[in-house]
Amino acid sequence: MYNYWGFGLNIASEIEFPEFLPADFDSPDITISKGNSPRQLSGDDVMQKVNVSMSSKEYLQNVVNVAYYYVANGNEICIQPHEGADEKSIRFFALSNAMAAVLHQRNNILLHASGVYYNAGVVLFCGHTGAGKSTVVTMLQQKGYKVFSDDVCVLKTADNNSKTTMAIPSYPMINLWADSFAKIGLEPPDNNTRLRPNLAKFGRFYHDNYETASTPIKRVFILNAYSQARQVEIKKLGTIEAFSALQQNTYSYVQINGMKKKAHHFMATSKLAAGVQVYLVNRIPGENTLNEVIALIEANLRDER
């Protein structure tokens, strides 16, 4: 059995996950096992979609040619690989869909965001895949910022009346598309670091410079790669706009809906929208505007410290 830390949880796994941080603990929060997965879920509250079904307590995803992922009770992930499936793909969907499901079952809300540490907290960059989250964070890493999390982080609303929302990082790996390496000025990636065999996306570990503590969110930038903007621009969003943008950037609305977590979703995103400044960064589609985006973000951070 391998023991890890990831997404704020102690994880005992039968499968090796180099992506997670090795950890010591007495009892795990969740277990990941290899075994026989059910083929379907039953019950009145099961939402059935394409190759995926879910209720508040169970989640079942069949990734064709990869594996069945059965997630239950907020503490159990069972993986049944399909014959001939590659290990990277098996791990990839465990780290994304299955981990999201187990976290939702535990009433956690995930933000589709990467982040860096800044000013005794973290600054988050939200956006859909391809918006530039990982590229921005890697660029900032090259400029000396310490990376907090990539792609997703867990929102942790404090129990008291504090306005602060804390974030918990996922695991110490940045996912970068092949073209980002040249844009940032990095050496081309090692083929062994591919996330899936035929995908031009690569993982960059940062286990040596990683912290697991939950950290207050100081500011959020929403990266928009599909704007009709003619130049890179940044604008502050009002609370309602910020709430809407954060709702759209939570990870897997399908799961939130199917697992009946809308109330938690509303609470987490409304508190975050009310407690931090949220900015929209419009990029110019199809153009490499990374340096302008970084300059605008850094200027914004300096101006409103």
């Binding site: 059935q48 394409v50 064709v64 391809g130 899936r196 035929n198 996306k201 399908v254 199917g258």
Partner: protein, 313 residues
Amino acid sequence: MKDNMTGQNFAQKKIVWLASYPKSGNTWFRAFLTALLGDGNIDINKMEADCVFSSRSIFDAATDMDSTCLYDAEIKNLLPDVFTYVSSVCQRSHLFVKIHDAYTKNTNDVAIVPEQPTLCALYFIRSPLDVAGSFAHHNASTIDQRIALMNNPHGVLTKIKGKDGEVNTKNWIEQLLLSWSGHVKSWTDNPEVPFPVLVVRYEDMLNEQFNTFSNAAKFIGLEKTPGEIKNAIDASHFEKLKQQENEKGFAQKNPRSESFFRSGKSGGWKHELTVQQILSLVDNHGEMMQKYGYEIPDIALLPENENRTQKEL
């Protein structure tokens, strides 16, 4: 027939595919449908058939997958189930889905367009000589680049296969077009297409408006009066759509191009294509052009223009 687990209705056939090679009248017809089925007003950013086959958000919502991390073949293998599911949860009698993909099969040897939920398809066709210029304008590319794509038997939109592997981050899923002729043949002259297909010529939408729109509405089972058809045609007049784009923008415009709506006319190719470009399109697509009533131009009779010198002629 209802699914025991979900109670979803899988039996009713309600998808009407609005199929076309790009820039062939699909959006115009959607504007007409919007006016016909709504209150007569059109907001070009909220049209009927905003359900688009290659939409990443529809795929992701139906599968709980991040499609950017799937291979194109994996996506194509799931698409038939995705649209069967989308149809099953649609509350309306018709579900209009815009599609630019050719009618092809996935690696499971299953048609990417599912038969089960399909009512019928409208196939919009426009002279490839006019498509070339409009398509180039739409993508802010050259006419030669667009003609090369139209002649490519393996042509795709939103290409995702790069030298390092699949880079699947665009807003749309990759669409296999085939060549222009291959596209037309796949939808209109293919014994494997198991549902009725009505071919609608862009030129007839311009010149035989009432009959063309009226026939199309009837084909898809919309019972409308001649007055309602006429009003919808008037509301979706090209100049009105263009004016709206000028005033409010259009979300489906390619960010690199100046506008989505250009001239909305036929025969513009006579003023913008070179002899070589005309010959290239005719050589590659003459058979399909003739099949659908597009005259093969006599190069010697074409007027001279800035792209076509007397020497070329």
